[in-house]
Structures are given as structure tokens and as C-alpha cells.
């Protein structure tokens, strides 16, 4: 059992999988010698050499496209896009090939690969280093989109993603790369993709979040529980697509109220789908409108204003209280 932060947990998962399976490799800009700009791939170069820890040239579409070829050829590439703000350049390859090859070839060709990318705000970075655009990926059929919210989850879900037979977009909330540590067991844990996790059971209200926002939400909830004694059911969505409708619906059927906290922008952010699922499966149980809070429909501001725009503890708390009081 080791206490790891999220970057260490991700690094550990990569070490473990590369040790276990010769066909796993990491690739991307600066992932080799430098160990990645956040050190997620630290030590892999030394351990496994430049062929399995590839410093690629600077071209996202080719990183995606060659990874697809590698996967078809029997390797298991774990590609890194240095920041999710540059990942829009992979949309062509992702949609045209990664997402479609299994369907196109009627199962003859498959594309088991992972694309890791840090996403989200909060680290005082430059433009394009702060967005949360999981919708682009979640709306891409045939691809799974996963977001861990803690070190232990990051390690197990990344292992789950690497072993998954489909292309997986693995978005890492960089705000909490080093925010806290968590016990990570020595034994293997393989996260199941497509499942949300109930972190805390409750009866008054369902609160759904993921990634860095979940971390913030957790803190907000602690205060609320202590101060007001609410019974809050907290769900870590974990997989944005395919979304775990059952867990969401069952919880809302129980509580009748729901708040979703996302870092993504409002229009067609994942919260919209959560609301649509609740509409489909649990509408008649709702006692109040589902509240969604997150980034507005704006360009994420440069960092001076960033924290005014990312949902604050207070905003989360208020949203929960308003929904409870509705």
C-alpha cells in the first residue's frame, strides 16, 4: 500500500502494464527522455527504452493516426496528447478510424488504444491549457471516455482502459494531479469502464460530478453534511461515455433531486446528457429541476479570471441547497 498522488498513480499504472505486456507502449510529445511535461511517463524511457517510450514529432493527428495503425498491428499504444486543448486536432483520425474500424471491418480489425490527456483549469497556465471538452469525445460513437477523480481511481481505470478492446480517451484532471494523495493498494485493481461509482450513499439528493470538480464537490458536501446534516448521495461518473444510466437513474429515483457539477461548458456539456437520462428514466421521481452548474458558454478565460468561472465551493453548495429547498 502506497500513498500516491494522481500523477504517481498514473505513472505506476503505466509501469505496471508495460512490465506485464510487451505490446504496451507510450508515445507522444516529450513523453520519453523528459518523462512527460507532468512526469506522467517518468522512468519509462529508462526502463523500456525509446522504442516503447516514444518521443514523437510534434503532430497530434499523426500521433492518433499512427497509434491506430499500431493497434491494428497488434500493439497497445498509450498515446499522450500534451494538453486536451490540442486534442481537437485528433478528431479527424479519431472519428474516421479509431471509432469506426471495428464497425467498418465487422470486427475483423480492432483498435485497442488509449489516448491520455490532461484537461481542465486551475493551474495558472496559458491559453488552451484549461478547457474541459469531454463532450467532443463522448459524442464520438465507438469510443469510451473516462475521467478519474482520485489517484486510486486513476490507476485502476487506466489499467482498465489499456486492457479494454476499444479506443479509450482518458482525460486527466490536471488540477488534482498533485492536489492530494490516496492509498493505492499493491495488488492489481482493474477499473471497469462504463460504470459510475456511488462514493457516498444518501437519501436527500443526488450529486453527480467527475474529475477535479468531484474533488471540489466532495469538500463542499463535507461542510454541508456537517453543518446541516443533509443526506447526500455522491456519484463519481467516471465514464462519460458510454454513460452509466442505471446508476444515475436509480439514485435519482431514490432521492428525487439532483445536482450536476461539471467543469465543461453549459451547452451540451455532459450534464445535458445526465439530465436527458433522468428525463428518460426517472422524470416522474423528480421533485425539483436537476441543477447543472459548470463553465458558462464562453472561452475559458486566461487564468486571472479562471477561478471566478470554474464552479467554486460556494456555488456548488448553493446549488445543492437551492435544489434541496426547491
Amino acid at each position: 500500500m502506497a500513498k500516491l498522488n494522481m500523477i504517481q498513480a498514473i505513472n505506476r499504472a503505466l509501469h505496471e502494464e508495460m512490465a506485464k505486456d510487451d505490446s504496451v507502449l507510450v508515445m507522444g510529445q516529450d513523453v520519453g527522455v523528459n518523462g512527460g511535461v507532468f512526469r506522467a511517463t517518468d522512468g519509462l524511457y529508462k526502463e523500456y527504452g525509446e522504442d516503447r517510450s516514444i518521443d514523437t514529432p510534434l503532430a497530434e493527428s499523426a500521433i492518433m493516426g499512427t497509434a491506430i495503425g499500431m493497434a491494428i498491428g497488434g500493439l497497445k499504444p498509450v498515446a499522450e496528447i500534451q494538453f486536451s486543448g490540442f486534442a481537437y486536432l485528433i478528431m479527424g483520425q479519431l472519428e474516421a478510424n479509431a471509432a469506426r474500424m471495428r464497425t467498418r471491418s465487422r470486427g475483423a480489425l480492432t483498435v485497442p488504444l488509449v489516448v491520455r490527456m490532461p484537461y481542465g483549469g486551475g493551474i495558472r497556465a496559458l491559453e488552451h491549457h484549461s478547457e474541459s471538452k469531454e463532450t467532443y469525445f463522448a459524442h464520438t460513437q465507438g469510443v469510451k471516455t473516462v475521467i478519474p477523480s482520485s489517484p486510486r481511481a486513476a490507476r485502476s481505470l487506466l489499467i482498465g482502459a489499456i486492457r479494454d478492446p476499444d479506443p479509450v480517451i482518458f482525460m486527466e484532471p490536471k488540477f488534482i494531479y498533485r492536489a492530494f494523495r490516496e492509498d493505492v493498494p499493491d495488488e492489481e485493481e482493474v477499473g471497469e469502464l462504463g460504470k459510475a461509482r456511488i462514493l457516498q450513499e444518501g437519501n436527500d439528493i443526488t450529486v453527480i460530478s467527475w474529475g477535479a470538480m468531484l474533488y471540489r464537490t466532495r469538500k463542499a458536501i463535507e461542510t454541508l453534511k456537517e453543518e446541516k446534516g443533509y443526506s447526500i448521495e455522491l456519484i463519481d461518473l467516471q465514464t462519460i461515455a458510454p454513460m452509466d444510466a442505471t446508476t444515475i437513474a436509480e439514485s435519482v429515483k431514490k432521492t428525487g433531486r439532483c445536482v450536476v457539477i461539471q467543469e465543461a461548458q453549459k451547452t451540451l456539456g455532459p450534464a445535458s446528457e445526465i439530465i436527458a437520462i433522468i428525463n428518460d428514466k426517472a422524470l416522474m421521481y423528480l421533485e425539483a429541476p436537476v441543477k447543472r452548474i459548470g463553465m458558462y458558454d464562453l472561452v475559458m478565460p486566461y487564468f486571472h479570471r479562471e477561478n471566478w468561472y470554474i464552479p467554486s465551493d460556494g456555488r456548488i453548495r448553493r446549488a445543492i441547497e437551492e435544489t434541496l429547498d426547491f
Partner: protein
Amino acid sequence: MPVSTIGPFKLEYFQVLNEKGEIDKKLDPGLSNEELLKLYRAMVLGRETDERLLKLQRQGRLGTLPVCFGQEAASAGAVMAMKDSDWFVGAYRELSGRLMRGESIENPMLIYNGLEEGNMIKTSPRTLPIAIVLASQIPQAVGLGYSIKMKQEKDTAVVTFFGDGSTSEGDFHEAMNFASVWKVPVVFLCQNNSWAISTPLKKQMASETIAQKAIAYNMPSVQVDGNDALAVYKATREAIDRAYAGEGPSFIEAVTYRMNVHTTADDPTKYRKDDEVAMWAEKDPITRFRAYLGKKKIWNDEKEDALRKEIRDEIAAAVKNYEEPRQYKPDAPFDFIYGTEVEAIEEQRAEFLENFKKDVTNG
């Protein structure tokens, strides 16, 4: 030295078999008679299948499809140099090459009748399905090349095909660069057929040749007469041999011409002159190859008639088989979207099947 020279960079153009079917002895790649006949057959099969598909389309029996007429040498010549264990990563203008790789004649009929079943490629597992998104297949070829290297597969290469227009895409450039840095066993084969739908070369690029684009990547490159199957074969042979020897990627520009419509949805009279087409008709790859075989005394009209008949029968049989009434599983798309069972997908499948049933019964 304050001023110095970079380069010079030089490339070669070559032709082995001229328009009259005369061979340049110095360049003869030395295929056996049997091999020559195999190559010839592949081109004729491509041509005849192409014509048949076009007719089926015009009769409304197939949907939109690209026409390969006149470009038979470029893909067949290349495939002649390939082994089954090499990867074929193509676009949609390599019918001869694909059939030569062992794809069934029914495949294109299924595809162009809107059935993914045509991509099942069982007969040729290392032939990737046609790629519609231009140039998107090229990085895949490089990734396959990397996997060959990593797995230390001996004597294995990838040949990837694309058109002149496709070289304008970013993916082409990125893939060429990755390949040259990684030194992967990949052959880039551009079928320069002068047109990208209605866009002529001179609106597509300012460079005189496509071959020179490889200079940017320090990649061996050659331009050949793409209607000369022996030139294409020879260039591909040399490139594959370099790949097998661990010397990395190569580039081949095969200069050919799109003799017919881009696809059946296209009307070239809008944008190009007949005399350009007429000029190219004289460079036909099959005519010259046949003349060569004739000169070599291994071919004659009788054999030609027999071959044509054999091929037409083969195609007719494929058409017949393809047109047998068959039921295509309505919900097959749900079977292949993910490799794991996904609750939401199964729920949607049920919804689909229910609706499908009602739609059919008009319920």
C-alpha cells in the same frame, strides 16, 4: 563560409515499358513469363470488374462508386511486388491491386451497395478496408510499420496508396515525417492521376512533381510512369527491398490518369477537355502490356479471348452470387460498435428492433 549550398537534391523519373509496349532492357526488372501473365491478368480483371461495376451502377443496381479505369498498372504493379504478409493500406482507387491481393469480386459490390459486409476481407487479412477520408489511411500505414519493427517481423513491409490531391492533406505530411524519423518499412505510393474530382494538379500544388515532396523528409523518392506496370513494379520492388533491409520508407509517384468519372456522381464534362483524355488513352496500361506480351511471344488473340472470357465468367458468377436474395442482419451495427457489452447499446438495440419490426409491418 558565409554562403554555402544545401543540396543539390535530385530525383529520377523512369519508364520501363513505353506506350508501344517496347521494353527498356537496362531497366527490365526481370519478371518471369508466369509473373508477367499474372500481372497482366490482374490488370484485366481490374478493368473488367471496374466496367461491370460501372454498368451495375448505371442500371441502379449499385450506389455511388469510384471508377478506376486506366489506373490498373499503378496498384497491380505494386501488389506484384508484395507478399501476402505485407500490409496493403489503400484508398478507393486500387481495384486491380485489391483483387490481386485476394479480395473477392463481391466485396466491392457489397460495399457499393451499402453493406459493410464487403469489408470483411476474410480472404486477405492484411488488406485494410478502403479509406474514404483522404490521407487518413497514411498515418495508419506508418503505425503498422512501427508494429512490424517492434515485433521484428522479418521481411514485412507496408504499402500505402493515395492520390495526388491527398498529398495536400496535413495527414500526408505528418505521416511522411513520422515514417522518416522512425525509419519504418513503409512504401508511400501516390497515384498521381492529374485530378482530384474537378481540381487539376496546378490548382492542387505549385510543385512540378509530387515525388519532390519527399525531399522534405529526406526520403528516397522516384517518379515513374504509372501506366507502366513494370516501372511501378520495379520501383515498388526496390522500395520494399529497402524496407526489408531496414533502410526505412520510400516514396513513389506513379504518374497516371483518371480516364473516367471521379465517381458515378461526377460529371467531368463540366471541367475538363476531351482531348486531354484522348491523349492519355494512348498511354493505356493494358494495351501496352498486351503488346509487350505479344512481342515476347507469350500472348496472342486466342489467349486474350480465353482470358477475357474466363474473367467475365468469374465476374458474372460473382454478380450472380452477390445478387442472390440474402437477408442482412438489421441490427448488425450494434454487434460491432464496442468490443465489450454495453448496457446502453443493448437497450438501444431493443428499441431499434422494436421500431424496425413496427416499421416493416407499418405498425
